[in-house]
Structure formats: C-alpha cells, structure tokens
C-alpha cells in the first residue's frame, strides 16, 4: 500500500522541527512567520483528521476478502 501523503508521525515530527526553529529564533522574521503558518496549517489538518477518524478494518486472506468489515460487536 503506497503511502503518498505524509504519515501522522511524519507530520508530528515536522511540527516538532518547526517549534524548535521558532524557539531558536535565529532566522529572519519573515521565515519564522512562514514556518509558523506552515505549522499551523499542519496542526489544524491533523486535529480535524484525528477528530473525525473512524477505525478502519481490512480483512485479508482466506476465501472471502472484503474491505471494511465492521468490528465484532462487543457485548
């Protein structure tokens, strides 16, 4: 399965990088503002993604292969 978009972990690492650069503040202010804007966009996207995500279950192998089966009900 090809992973084209950055993973959550990759995005979090990028945010971490941005925060460190902003805290170091050893760049021109325009660059810092651009970094801040980039980070805020990532954070917003991540938050929305995480808030709305539902568990996805794919069953493979065996005789019948079908996507997104519901998880077994818990009683």
């Amino acid at each position: 399965m090809a992973k084209k978009t950055p993973t959550i972990d990759e995005q979090l690492r990028r945010l971490e990088e941005i925060r460190q650069q902003l805290e170091a503040a050893d760049r021109p202010i325009e660059e810092l503002v651009a970094l801040y804007e980039e980070g805020m966009a990532i954070a917003k996207r991540l938050r929305e993604h995480l808030a709305s995500i539902r568990q996805r279950i794919i069953t493979i192998g065996g005789q019948d292969e079908h996507d997104d089966i519901a998880p077994p009900s818990v009683d």
Partner: protein
C-alpha cells in the same frame, strides 16, 4: 488325519484381516525407542512399556508438533496393520502426541536451545515498535476473544491506525503453516507492525506457537512482531523470537499504540501554545526594535550621528577646496614664471637691466658687422638715446681692462 494346510501367505492374509478388522482405531500410550527417520521421510520407531513392544510407522506427510526422540512418552493414534513381507504387525500412526506436559516441555526445551544457539532470541535483533503505526496487522483466530480485545483496544487508543486482519488458524495440525503464511501476507500488505497470537488454552492448544515453522516466520519478518499467546503465564517459543512479547492480546494492542489519539491532540495543543509564544516573543523583540527607532532618544542619537556625518562631509569638502586652491596658486605661479621667462627673451628686455642697443645707418647693428672709426652710431638705452662717433676699434676680447678702455672710449 485331515490336516488343513495353509500357505504362509494365506495365513498372514487371514491374520491381517483379523487384526485390521478388529483394531481399525487404537490409541496407545508408550515410550519411543529405536526411532529412525528414513530418507524417504517416513519415520519408524518402537513403542514399548515394561512388558511389551510394538512397531510403529509414521508415514511422510504426517506431522508431529515436535521432533520424536527415544525415551519420550507419547500417545499414538492409528490403526493396526500387518506387513506380510516381514511377518510382523505395526501401528500405522495418524498422529503422535506427547503424553503429558513433561514431554511437551522437553520438546519446548529442545527447540528453545536450538533457536537460542542460532541467535533467534538475541536482544540486538529486537526491533523497536513504531510510536504511531499507520497500519497494524493482526494474525489471530476470527472467533474468540483475542481479535475482539485487540480491535476494541486499538480503536479506543488510536482509531487513526488502519487494522489489517488476517483470520488465522491458531491450533491444529495446519496452524503453524497458516500462522507463517499470515505473517508473510500481512508484511507484504505494508503493515508497520504485526500482532500474532491467540487467547488462552491448554499447552496442546498453544502448540503451534512452539513450532520451528512459526519461529522461522517471526525470525524472517521484515517488520516488528508482537506476540500475544495465551495468558500471562503461558510463554511460547514465538514469544522468545518476537520483537516484543505481550502478556495478553489487549496488552499487545496497547504496545502497538504507545501514543493514543488523546495524546496527539494534547500534544497539538501544547505545540500551538509553545509555537505561538515563541513567535510572539520574537515579534515583540522586533517591535521593540522598531519602537526604539522611532523614539525621541533614538532621533537624537540619529541626529547626532547625522551631524557627525555632515562634519565629515564638510571637512572632506574643505580638504578638497584647499587642494584645489593650492593647485590654482601653483598654476598662477607657473604662469608668472613663464611670463618673466618670456620677458627675458624680449629684445628690449635687456634695456631694463642697463644694456644698450646700438643702431648704425638706421638699423640695429648685428654682431657680425665690424665697427670702423668714424661710424655714426645711435645708442638706445631704456631712459634715453644718444648719437656717438667711433674714435677707435679694438679686438673683441672681453676683459675688465677692455671694458674699462671701452668705457673710457665712451667718455
């Protein structure tokens, strides 16, 4: 005498018929001896106890969950058959199971020692689990509590992770092979981590996880494997080979989601806060700098700097002006010198210094012409002129006496 004579073959055939019909299915407990694995893959051994022994054959293709050894107590399941060529009978085994935990433990220890020597359990080859896996593979039975516990735990902790479930046989003769296949399939699907396991059961139920097949599959896996077999107290070979051993399926799901969704959301809050603060303080600095620029104090400092610059500029201009004046002066001087030089060359110039011009017959007397007594000369000086007569002429020798004489001649 009516003796009923039989051939060996007929008798053997009759015995065979009786035995096979009488004992189509037997379960026999005994100790293995004379165990031999033939090149063909068939295995032969003798099952014995204190009072008797019986030959056994285990045809190729019939698997046992462990390597048989002489001295092992086993329970065989099979049927009785006769081998006419050698005139003996044997148990045609369908399955061989260790009799009692003691022997299973032996098999377990055998494999454990072997795999440890082969480096299967080396701590250096244990991989760390990803902190936020995108895809989590699960190889376990579709029925039973294990899959349910795993799915609910994963959903509760990190629903962002996709779960790829491969229903897997976890007990019985085919379980080990199926577990190995499941691991390979899940890996090739792109899972970042795989949970393999099952719920609790007897040691026989868990046996697939004590096989070389499963050990090899875990050892070969390209992604981290978390094993979760049985209960906390059950430890299998699979647990030793796996990168991480979880006590239960639920614990395995927790280990695969070390960072929960809430953790990420909290982290994002903290991130936003810290980032905002960092940028704000940097902006404040910049603002202070600008304010400082615009303050009266700064203007004063600025105008002082300006004055200093002006002063520098003025002194530079002054230096240039002085230099220019100097060069104009020296030009004028040169001009004056030139003019006096020109003045010296003027024919009447010498008159200024007391020399006189001599004119004869209305023109300036050239130096090439001789004077003669009786010549009428006109003498021009700066202040006056006179007419004079030449009384005598001397050789043009310049010395004081001559001058004196000449002077005398004028008077």
């Amino acid at each position: 005498m009516n003796e009923h004579v039989l051939t060996v073959s007929l008798l053997t055939q009759a015995i065979s018929q009786v035995l096979e019909e009488e004992f189509p299915l037997v379960h026999v407990l005994g100790e293995v001896s004379n165990y031999k694995r033939h090149q063909s893959g068939h295995r032969y051994f003798t099952l014995k106890d204190e009072g008797a022994q019986i030959r056994c054959v285990l045809w190729r293709g019939r698997t046992v969950p462990f390597e048989l050894q002489d001295g092992m107590q086993v329970k065989v399941r099979g049927r009785l058959s006769v081998y006419p060529l050698q005139g003996n009978y044997q148990i045609d085994c369908w399955s061989v199971q260790p009799a009692g935990v003691g022997d299973l433990y032996l098999a377990f220890e055998q494999l454990k020692t072997e795999l440890a020597a082969a480096g299967y359990f080396d701590p250096e080859r244990k991989r760390r689990l990803p902190r936020l896996p995108e895809i989590i593979g699960v190889a376990t039975s579709p029925s039973g509590a294990a899959i349910r516990d795993i799915l609910t735990t994963l959903e509760r902790r990190n629903p962002a992770a996709t779960v790829v479930f491969r229903p897997t046989l976890v007990q019985g003769a085919d379980a080990a092979e199926d577990i190995a296949r499941a691991l390979a399939e899940l890996e090739s699907f792109g899972c970042d981590v795989i949970i393999v396991g099952r719920g609790g059961g007897s040691i026989e139920d868990l046996w697939a996880f004590n096989t070389r097949t499963v050990a090899d599959a875990i050892f070969r896996a390209g992604v981290p494997i978390v094993s979760a077999v049985g209960h906390e107290t059950d430890v299998t070979i699979a647990d030793f080979v796996a990168d991480v051993r979880a006590a239960t399926p639920t614990a395995a799901a927790e280990l695969c989601t070390p960072i929960r969704r809430e953790d990420v959301l909290l982290w994002l809050d903290d991130w936003a806060e810290r980032t905002r603060t960092a940028l704000a303080s940097r902006l404040d600095q910049a603002e202070l700098l600008i304010a400082d620029f615009l303050s009266p104090t700064t203007s004063r400092v600025l105008s002082m700097q300006h004055e200093h610059l002006c002063f520098q500029l003025i002194s530079t201009v002054e230096r240039l002006r002085v230099a220019a004046l100097r060069s104009v002066e020296s030009y004028i001087q040169q001009q004056e010198q030139l003019q006096s030089a020109i003045a010296l060359l003027h024919p009447l110039g010498p008159l200024d210094r007391g020399f006189a011009l001599i004119e004869r017959d209305g023109r300036i007397l050239p130096a090439s012409e001789q004077l003669a007594p009786g010549d009428q000369l006109r003498i021009h000086r700066q202040c006056d002129s006179a007419i004079a007569s030449v009384t005598s002429v001397f050789d043009p020798v310049y010395h004081l006496a001559t001058h004196d004489g000449k002077k005398d001649s004028h008077h």
